[in-house]
């Protein structure tokens, strides 16, 4: 599979060189109109039944022929499911009078029904996490809003201050995860409302054409690349589950701006630093590079555009060689332009790199990424799991940092489970037991779950129960929504 990518990248580069045709047809852009027909409910990543491979493209004088590289899909589109999920590359050769263009499609044929995956850890399905999420989200909706009904920064300032972009992006991704977990009309309406409210954050004063979001009605400077990358991930997830093109369009536009943060010597900037900043202030953080690599993989999955795969590999590799703590197997925080490494370790940084590595493994099947995931699973358990301070919950694991940081560690566990080894799910099972313990024992008078589910460990943020930060309330909610999806996934693979 690795070789296949390399071969196609090579082929593609040859084709790109010759893509200007002599009969005036730009076959490369025409190829974008070529779509494969899937059965209802199936996508390029979830094929179970036969697919339709068109022989022509409407409106153009071209012919299309197809070639598969694996028996699970024939050149005519007949699908035969195998024992495990299979990646198949279908090459469409588009011919005009004088020219030829080859466009590859990478398709996942799902494993045969009845193929059960062995899960070697004990688990107990809660089955009602959807209701818990709905309850926590309704608290956010009723208690963390300004008088005008917008998302507020926290309960203390609800009468004055609209959320900053960091907080709002956390709210947005939570609303998306809520819809992914439970795609009802009601949850779709919430997503649509959140998408509309996000418009207030759009930067309208920029001289360039980029789509950028920022606090203060879009005017905060320098704009944060990382606050925007969480939105990109939310947009792609929303697109994958609603199929509404505007989500993909926004994801692509914001991601394009994020790529402009790339430095000649490697790494994406944290913020859109102007030249006048000193080198020590110009930092390249794991919190932008990890999620940007991951978002690039998600965009590659959604569009099949190899540019994003290239970006993902480039960003991931730079981050690994500059910010990875080999000894402890977790990620450091940032490196400045003058090369000073800040060695703080937060859960979300390791988590986003785990998601990126898991997706890279899914699409390249390279052992390098598989090993990376294994190392990060080990390291995060060693460094972030608060082992000795809480012994009375034998199958529960409490992790450090605030709830929003933990979201991305939990998401990393979930991606590692789905794309690398289903038995990594044991971490999710234990996180689930920990958060259920919190819901049982540490709810404040409003009904919000505490930042610290164990009730014993002082968190980094203000743990004042009078003062709920929206960022942390939606963080807890998003974790629950991921865990609900984990349970659904577990049920599916073991049935």
């Amino acid at each position: 599979m690795r070789k296949r990518y390399i071969v196609f990248a090579f082929l593609l580069s040859l084709v790109i060189v010759s893509c200007k045709t002599s009969d005036g047809l730009d076959l490369e852009s025409i190829s974008n109109k070529l779509t494969i027909g899937y059965q209802t409910g199936e996508t390029i990543n979830t094929v179970k039944s036969n697919i339709t491979l068109p022989k022509t493209i409407d409106g153009y004088d071209v012919s299309v022929t197809w070639e598969s590289n694996h028996v699970s899909i024939t050149n005519e589109g007949v699908v035969t499911q195998q024992e495990s999920d299979t990646l198949v590359t279908l090459s469409a050769t588009i011919k005009s009078k004088n020219d030829t263009f080859i466009k590859p499609f990478i398709i996942t044929v799902l494993a045969k029904k009845g193929t059960t995956i062995m899960v070697n850890y004990n688990y107990t399905l809660h089955n009602k996490l959807k209701e818990v999420v709905a309850e926590q989200l309704s608290l956010v909706e009723s208690k963390l809003k300004t008088p005008d009904g917008y998302v507020a920064e926290d309960t203390r300032l609800a009468n004055f201050v609209r959320a900053n972009l960091w907080t709002y992006s956390a709210y947005f991704t939570t609303v998306v995860q809520n819809y992914m977990m439970n795609p009802t009309n009601e949850n779709k309406a919430l997503l649509d409302k959140a998408t509309e409210e996000l418009e207030w954050y759009k930067a309208t004063h920029r001289e360039d054409e980029h789509l950028v979001y920022a606090s203060k009605n879009g005017y905060e400077e320098p704009a944060f690349f990382d606050d925007n990358v969480w939105l990109v991930i939310g947009f792609i997830n929303a697109y994958n589950h609603t199929k509404e093109a505007h989500f993909l369009d926004k994801a692509l536009k914001v991601q394009e701006w994020i790529y402009t943060g790339w430095q000649e010597e490697g790494g994406l900037y944290w913020r859109e630093f102007p030249e006048s900043y000193e080198d020590s202030q110009k930092v390249r953080n794991t919190c932008i590079n990890g999620p940007a690599a991951w978002a690039a993989m998600l965009l590659y999955e959604a569009t099949n555009d190899f540019t994003h795969l290239d970006w993902a590999i480039k960003i991931y590799t730079w981050t690994k060689y500059n910010l990875y703590d080999k000894e402890n197997k977790v990620y450091w925080d940032n490196i400045s332009k003058d090369g000073i490494v800040n060695k703080w370790t937060f859960t979300y940084n390791t988590g986003t790199m785990m998601s990126a590595a898991s997706l890279l493994y899914k699409h390249t099947l390279s052992d390098i990424y598989k090993e990376d995931v294994q190392n990060l699973m080990d390291g995060s358990h060693e460094v972030f799991y608060i082992a000795n301070q809480f012994q009375s919950l034998p199958n529960g694991e409490f992790y450090k940092d605030n709830p929003w940081f933990r979201v991305y560690l939990v998401q990393g566990f979930y991606d590692a489970m789905r794309y690398v080894d289903v038995n990594y799910g044991i971490r999710l099972e234990r996180v689930k037991n920990a958060i259920l313990y919190g819901l049982e024992n540490h709810i404040d008078e409003r009904g919000f779950l505490w930042e610290d589910w164990s009730g014993r460990i002082i968190n980094e943020g203000p743990s004042n129960k009078d003062h709920i930060r929206t960022l942390f309330a939606v963080g807890n909610t998003e974790i629950l929504a991921i865990l609900a999806q984990y349970e659904a996934y577990l049920k599916e693979v073991t049935s």
Partner: protein
């Protein structure tokens, strides 16, 4: 044209240029973004923290105009000093905080409304006497202090300059008459009407206020400059420590021995107002000796007050409201030097407050009075309006320095 007026014009012009090219009006108000009356969006960490503090203070301390709580939470123990309504001292700090807020973002409704609400609230402190002045506590039961009134004079003056408000200016000018009426036979201003001590804390701000009003109308107010110089000279002669040029607190004259008995405690604000006074007297008279005074006191103060603490960082003492006036002195002196050679004085505050914002915030979001030095006290749980308003004003002053004086907020 005096140099000070000239520089004011330059700064104002600069501010307008910045408005049009660097900072951006906030179109959230639904108005034309080119309209100069629209509030600005300011991208500055000190400003953001200060704005947050004003919201917290409104939320936690505000009762009604003139009725601002002194502590939050208030200590429920009967007779506790950590409870009750704010005295004029804390109320003045609240007023001057909004004056600085308005200076950096005049059209923000939140600031403008609270500025005028705070001026309106002064009426509950009004002493029922012909001469305008304010009592130390709410109602007529207290007694007036010259220094408490002097801070209000300065706050009203700043507000008048921001909004070009003649009413606030004459209010300030009228109240200044009361402060100057506390002048003793040979120059120093008494602390209040019923004591015989003459204090740096009443004399210093009296000089500053007198020179500021003199500069408003130099042709007709020469008596203000004369009074300022008399008070300045007395304070310098009696209350300046000749060793390090840092100011002592107060002096009480003993007529039997013909000597002054000096209280030698040193607080940041006493040196701060005298540095400020020196810088202003230099602008008014061009006499370089005032500048020399200001410089030696500034250097002495930095050595005396700005000391090394945790993380090998330097910190000002645990007294935000006192420190506020040292910063005002530093800013005034630094802005006298076009070659930027005294910017380092202000940078000491920028460093301390930057550290404070990362390490010295309590669980409610308030800056601790220790400003990150780690010198904590059990009373920190009672957030004091005086200190909190002062810390906030310091943040606004630093934001203004970075955004408007350094041009590029960086």
């Amino acid at each position: 044209m005096s140099k000070r007026l000239f520089s004011l014009i330059i700064i104002t012009a600069l501010a307008f240029i910045l408005v049009s090219c660097k900072k951006t009006p906030n179109p959230d108000n639904g108005t034309n973004p080119d309209d100069p009356n629209v509030p600005l969006v300011i991208n500055n960490a000190f400003y953001d923290a200060a704005l947050l503090h004003t919201y917290l203070i409104q939320n936690d301390f505000y009762a009604s105009p003139g009725r601002i709580k002194a502590y939050d939470p208030a200590d429920p123990t009967p007779g506790s000093e950590f409870s009750g309504t704010s005295a004029l001292w804390g109320y003045g700090a609240y007023l001057t905080m909004y004056a600085q807020a308005a200076k950096i973002n005049p059209n923000l409704k939140h600031f403008k409304d609270n500025v005028y609400d705070a001026i309106d609230g002064l009426k509950v402190f009004r002493m029922p006497r012909q001469q305008l002045h304010y009592s130390a506590i709410v109602g007529a039961g207290g007694e007036p202090y010259y220094d408490d009134n002097a801070w209000v004079v300065l706050g009203l003056y700043d507000i008048a300059k921001v909004y070009d408000d003649q009413e606030a200016l004459s209010h300030s000018r009228e109240l200044l008459d009361y402060v100057l009426s506390g002048e003793s036979e040979d120059g120093g201003i008494y602390w209040k009407e019923t004591v015989s001590s003459r204090n740096t804390c009443s004399s210093g701000p009296a000089v500053v206020a007198a020179v500021l009003h003199y500069l408003e109308n130099p042709a007709e107010e020469t008596q203000l400059l004369e009074a300022a110089i008399r008070i300045y000279n007395w304070t310098k002669r009696v209350l300046k420590d000749p060793q390090d040029h840092v100011y002592w607190d107060n002096a009480t004259y003993n007529p039997d021995t013909n000597t002054e008995s000096i209280e030698k405690a040193k607080f940041t604000y006493n040196s701060g107002t005298m540095i400020w006074a020196g810088a202003l007297l230099y602008e008014a008279t061009k006499d370089e000796s005032y500048l020399e005074d200001a410089n030696s006191t500034a250097l002495g103060s930095l050595g005396y007050f700005y000391t090394t603490g945790r993380d090998n960082k330097k910190f000002f003492p645990r007294s935000p409201w006192f420190n506020l006036y040292l910063l005002r002195g530093f800013i005034s002196l630094a802005q006298t030097y076009e070659d930027r050679s005294r910017d380092y004085l202000v940078n000491s505050f920028r460093d301390n407050l930057k550290y404070a914002l990362s390490k010295g915030v309590d669980n409610r979001g308030y800056l601790l009075p220790s400003w990150g030095s780690g010198v904590l006290s059990p009373t920190d749980k009672y957030v004091a309006l005086l200190d909190t308003a002062a810390s906030t004003e310091v943040l606004f002053l630093l934001a203004d320095w970075e955004v408007n004086y350094l041009k590029e907020g960086k």
